[in-house]
């Protein structure tokens, strides 16, 4: 039994890829793909979409921190797909990360709703879109989490949607407590090296989320903030979850 568990853990670790590399771009007939090489193998990272997407592509002129698990199945855009995968654009410039490859026959991007040009009208939905759901009683304690790119406190569109939901719930429930806990992470790379986020990033994350919550109507008197300055211990698997701000709303 113990051996079986160990094997499963080893297999999971064998499927995990945590590395820092220059991303490169592969043009296709449709949207471009973003890929990276690690230890002689090419990995598919992302495809161009828009800001409504859950996964944002990396950026040339910057290295990318890739934290992902190999997904079984065919290659995508010439690379091994990773899913789930967390991509972090590292803040400092690296002019060497500047490769765009031309489209090649037989290498296609996965189908995407948004093409490279202007958007097209989507097929009408079977049913009219549901009206936005406003928070309604009974109000119970709820928690939202904002996960960050490595060494970043920037709130992307997907993140501000999360904070907005929390703020809306806090206002509707007349929250007595809004507890913010901001963390700072570290990442265990597949090479064994550990990357640790900058010392101030947790407090920067907390500050931005609190400012946004208050600006969206949350009662400032109900907001409690705790900044965990020490980086979480990395395990090479769940490290992205430590780059987080949690928002717990208690009515």
């Amino acid at each position: 039994m113990l051996l079986a568990v160990l094997t499963v853990v080893q297999n999971a670790a064998a499927q995990q890829r945590n590395f820092v590399a220059c991303p490169f771009v592969r043009d296709t007939r449709t949207v471009p793909c973003f890929l990276a090489e690690y230890e002689g193998e090419t990995y598919f990272l992302a495809v161009q979409q828009d800001i409504s997407a859950d996964q944002y592509p990396p950026q040339l002129l910057h290295e990318v921190l890739v934290e992902g698990t190999i997904e079984p199945g065919p290659r995508v855009c010439g690379g091994i797909p990773l899913k789930p995968v967390k991509l972090s654009v590292l803040p400092e410039l690296n002019p060497a990360c500047n490769t765009i490859l031309p489209a090649e026959p037989g290498i296609d991007a996965p189908p995407m709703r948004r093409q490279a040009g202007p958007s097209s009208r989507q097929a009408p939905a079977a049913a009219p879109p549901a009206a936005p759901v406003r928070p309604a009683p009974p109000f119970v304690e709820r928690e939202w989490k904002v996960l960050y790119d490595f060494d970043s406190a920037f709130l992307f569109s997907r993140d501000t949607r999360t904070v907005s939901q929390a703020a809306e719930y806090a206002v509707a429930s007349k929250a007595k407590h809004i507890d913010i806990v901001a963390g700072r992470g570290a990442t265990l790379l597949s090479s064994g090296k550990v990357l640790i986020e900058g010392g101030a990033v947790a407090s920067q994350r907390a500050e931005r989320v609190v400012t946004l919550l208050k600006g969206l109507g949350a009662d400032p008197a109900s907001v409690n903030v705790r900044v965990v300055s020490a980086p979480a211990q990395p395990d090479g698997k769940t490290d992205p979850e430590n780059r987080v701000v949690s928002i717990r709303v208690s009515p």
Partner: protein, 489 residues
């Protein structure tokens, strides 16, 4: 109707524009008479149309046309109906010649390269005369994430012991084009509460607390037309005070002004029935703001289908070229890359898209979101200035050094050379260095030169800059189509 409007203007010219300088349509501060509800003014390629949706305006005593301060200027000094509610550098040169440099446009405070220069000399106003630039002087923000050092100072203002960076009130002087005070329902269209480019709350109207669009002024430093008018009166006009009633009347006037090209020498009438629906000032007045046009079914400048089936006549050929230019604007893909607040907000770098990705606000071509981006016009090495050392360089150059603990500029890093830090002089953020709010595309023919630093003398130079900047590899024919398209807006 427009011919009638021209006639109305002509008939009333003696009365309405009594203080115009002879031979031009320049309206001097303090003008009396009536500005008609509809008017057309000549431009190098045709005529620009003006429409006042609230009807004609009596200029006498109106605070937009009347000096409010000590230097003789009024709002109209820099926002001229005949020049797309801005002014052209050519018009400024003409005004200098006709007035011997005495017009209040050339006021020392910001109509000169620096107030300490000999004001009677033409070269002291070279940036205004050559590029149409007004001096904008701002303090370094207290929260600045960077230090700023001067690299070169052709105007002498940034090294001036009175006006410069080391003066008792440390000040950065940059030089920018006046923006057109027209079509403002689009420009001031309210933004969502959260600015996606910042991941933070939008600025708010101090009077109402409501979020504002952050889409006018090159650096979005003013929240509303009201705050802009107040600070313009106190600054540009050197007024000691301005009343709420004066501000209300200025803003009320500005909100009814619509401007667009209305006649093109090659295309003919731009506002005829059955023609492209986005052209002419009446279309600007009729359309609703806040529509996202980055799509293939309700595009930024609607459609030009009726001009695509041209016959062999010169006019029809030109119209077909305009229609091709509109399609290039909407559909010609290229690698859009290294643009702060576009590539850096989750879209990826590069982004395979089109002009309409950024210039997406229907009818104006601004960004529907807060419009500041670092296209590169002011930051080395992609700036519009000479790439190599040049004695002829006329703009200041600053060295911005980002503090180690802050996020660097996404595509230029921690040391940036710039002729205008743009939004960063307001936000204090390193990532904002060189970010400038996009301008609207209307009435362009009336108000050259282009870009915030007046570096593009004509539309060809605008198109050439984009072609180089994004390696678009536009053909000569494509460039001409784009120029023709932009020219009829």
């Amino acid at each position: 109707m427009w011919a009638a409007a021209v006639a109305v203007l002509a008939a009333s010219a003696a009365l309405a524009l009594a203080q115009q300088t002879a031979g031009t349509a320049w309206i001097s501060a303090g003008a009396t008479g009536v500005l008609p509800a509809q008017a057309e003014f000549p431009t190098p390629t045709g005529r620009v149309g003006l429409l006042l949706s609230g009807g004609p305006i009596e200029m006498k005593g109106h605070p937009f046309f009347t000096p409010l301060g000590s230097n003789g200027r009024a709002c109209v000094t820099c926002h001229q109906p005949a020049y797309g509610m801005s002014f052209s550098a050519e018009a400024a040169r003409d005004l200098w010649k006709r007035t011997g440099g005495k017009d209040p446009l050339f006021a020392a405070v910001d109509g000169a390269n620096c107030p300490n220069l000999p004001q009677e000399q033409e070269k002291s106003h070279s940036l205004l005369l050559e590029r149409g630039l007004i001096r904008v002087f701002l303090p370094v923000p207290k929260n600045a994430e960077f230090t700023i050092n001067l690299v070169s100072d052709p105007t002498g203002c940034n090294t001036s012991p009175t006006y410069g960076l080391d003066s008792p009130t440390p000040t950065v002087s940059v030089y920018r084009r006046p923006r057109m005070a027209a079509n403002l329902k689009y420009v001031t269209n309210p933004a969502p509460r959260i600015v996606l480019k910042l991941g933070a709350l939008a600025d708010t109207d101090p009077a109402t607390g409501r979020p504002v669009g952050m889409n006018f002024m090159a650096d979005a430093r003013e929240a509303t037309l009201m705050t802009q008018a107040r600070n313009a009166a106190l600054g540009h006009e050197e007024a000691q005070s301005v009343t709420d009633e004066q501000l209300r009347k200025i803003v009320e006037f500005e909100n009814q002004v619509y401007v667009a090209q209305i006649f093109d020498r090659s295309a003919g009438s731009l506002a005829e029935p059955g023609g492209p629906q986005a052209l002419g000032p009446a279309a600007m007045a009729a359309h609703r703001p806040g529509v996202l046009g980055d799509n293939d079914y309700d595009s930024v400048f609607l459609n030009f289908e009726s001009w695509k089936k041209g016959d062999a006549s010169a006019q029809e050929q030109f119209r077909a070229s305009v229609a091709r230019g509109a399609d290039l604007f909407m559909f010609r893909q290229f690698w859009l890359r290294d643009v702060t607040h576009i590539n850096s907000i989750g879209l990826g770098n590069p982004l395979k898209r089109t002009c309409a990705t950024c210039h997406n606000h229907q009818m104006t071509g601004q960004d529907l979101s807060a419009g500041f981006v670092d296209l590169g016009t002011t930051n080395y090495p992609r700036w519009t200035e000479p790439p190599l050392y040049s004695d002829a360089r006329d703009l200041p150059v600053f060295k911005i050094t980002c503090k180690p603990e802050v996020q660097p500029h996404p595509y230029l890093g921690r040391v940036i050379y710039t002729s205008d830090p743009g939004r960063a002089l307001i936000s204090g953020r390193c990532a904002d260095v060189g970010s400038i709010v996009m301008q609207q595309f209307r009435g362009l023919s009336a108000r050259a030169p282009y870009f915030s630093n007046g570096s593009a003398k004509n539309l060809r130079e605008v198109v050439d800059y984009y072609d180089r900047r994004f390696d678009m590899k536009l053909s000569e024919a494509e460039k001409q189509d784009l120029i023709n398209f932009l020219g009829v807006l």
